[in-house]
Symmetry: C2
Subunit: 253 residues, 2 copies
């Protein structure tokens, strides 16, 4: 196998093991992880023991699980400096203004990753998503907006290699239809999705002008009933855009 001399495969494998812990299973055995990462069981074991050694992973009996210590890896990013002082206040202020929790998300492969979230509890409904949660790309407003932010060809590639899960009866699964929707999102510069991920829940998202190559979006969600009011949707979009505009000034991304 021709291998780039500038890239360490062992490190890659190790990280893939660490990343293999996802929401679906909190406790996994060596065999589980070995299957999930397509690595030899012996290799998986070595890498896991390495992770245990530094405390990122805990071994209880024959199962492994993440230790809270993994947060240090994210810590320097979330760290007080930039994020807590620049992004969070803006998010909170606008959340208070519009009375809804706002999330900031970026794309991670075929998921939308929540990077920040307003920490005011003014919203009446609380969905169980927190920083680090990974939501589906194709059935959520933030996900589709993220897709729309990508280069058309990149988005096409992602859409092509995707198997769209049908979460609710409303979920659009037809690739062509989905492609059209994403295109519309890109034109409109906003995305609205009614109950395609969770029934009765509507999401709204707008793009965030990120200077770097990282594309980010802002989103909110509430019951579909709330958005029935014809004004509500447009108001929310306008509010989110104001928030996005303000956030763009912080050069975090």
């Amino acid at each position: 196998m021709e291998q780039n001399r500038n890239i360490s495969t062992t490190f890659l494998k190790g990280l893939s093991v660490l990343k293999a812990f996802d929401d679906s299973q909190r406790h996994m055995t060596i065999a589980d992880l070995s299957r999930k990462t397509n690595l030899d069981a012996a290799t998986t074991r070595r890498l896991l023991l390495t992770l245990v050694h530094i405390g990122y992973v805990r071994k209880t009996g024959r199962t492994f699980s993440l230790s809270p210590l993994v947060l240090v890896l994210a810590g320097s990013f979330l760290g007080a400096n930039q994020f807590g002082r620049l992004v969070q206040p803006v998010l909170n202020r606008h959340a208070a203004l519009i009375g809804k929790a706002i999330v900031l998300a970026i794309r991670d492969e075929e998921r939308a990753l929540i990077v920040a979230q307003s920490t005011l509890d003014t919203s009446n409904v609380s969905f169980g998503f927190t920083v680090g949660s990974r939501l589906p790309l194709f059935q959520t407003a933030i996900g589709r907006m993220l897709l729309a932010c990508e280069n058309p060809d990149v988005a096409a590639t992602i859409l092509a290699s995707a198997d769209v899960e049908k979460h609710t009866p409303q979920t659009v699964v037809d690739p062509d239809a989905l492609r059209a929707i994403v295109r519309t999102c890109a034109n409109d510069m906003f995305s609205v999705v009614h109950g395609e991920f969770e029934a009765g829940v509507t999401g709204v998202a707008v793009p965030l002008k990120a200077e770097g190559d990282v594309k980010a979006v802002l989103g909110i969600s509430d019951t579909t009933a709330f958005f029935q009011n014809s004004d509500a949707q447009q108001t929310m979009i306008d509010d989110l855009r104001r928030c996005a505009l303000e956030m763009a000034h912080s050069n975090l991304f």
Copy 2:
């Protein structure tokens, strides 16, 4: 060098590079990181390029910085499942009850790592700490409580190899005095620190009964003036303990 065959040194080195990004410097060059990790420049470069390759790190010119994507590593821990649904609500409820932001922290080497935080903004003062922030161990209430939670010999080792930074005029730097304080914390099952980290700020912390080997604590902080009221301190401790008791039932740790 005799090396444990079950541990991958390359993976360790890679993680140490990733972890070398801390609050102090957000943008670092290869040379910076090489110094910080005590790794050969060539090795550091390879590992960095590996991190860039999967998107955890971004290269802008000659400097490297963390990408928001590192959150996926923490994501599965913070992930919606347990944390968002079990810990967060309890934290929020008690925070609302006592009108102060509550933080949950564990120990990472010589720092206290904030793992969770109440997301209600009922408190009047907002310190710029968020999940992932790493606070000093010896000058904060949560830090000292974490030390007190450790085996006496472990705590002694940490204390011995530590250089205590004098953040404020009040900071206790004498190792013997510090040792005594930690011992007291262990007996009292609470820790109170007045303005040794930030002047005029008092912190209170209580231990969290963790079933695993991970020790965790709960803490709050407010102006020292607030705690002048003789009742206030005891009330806070009692409140925190109630929160800790409730949290102990969730078997997250």
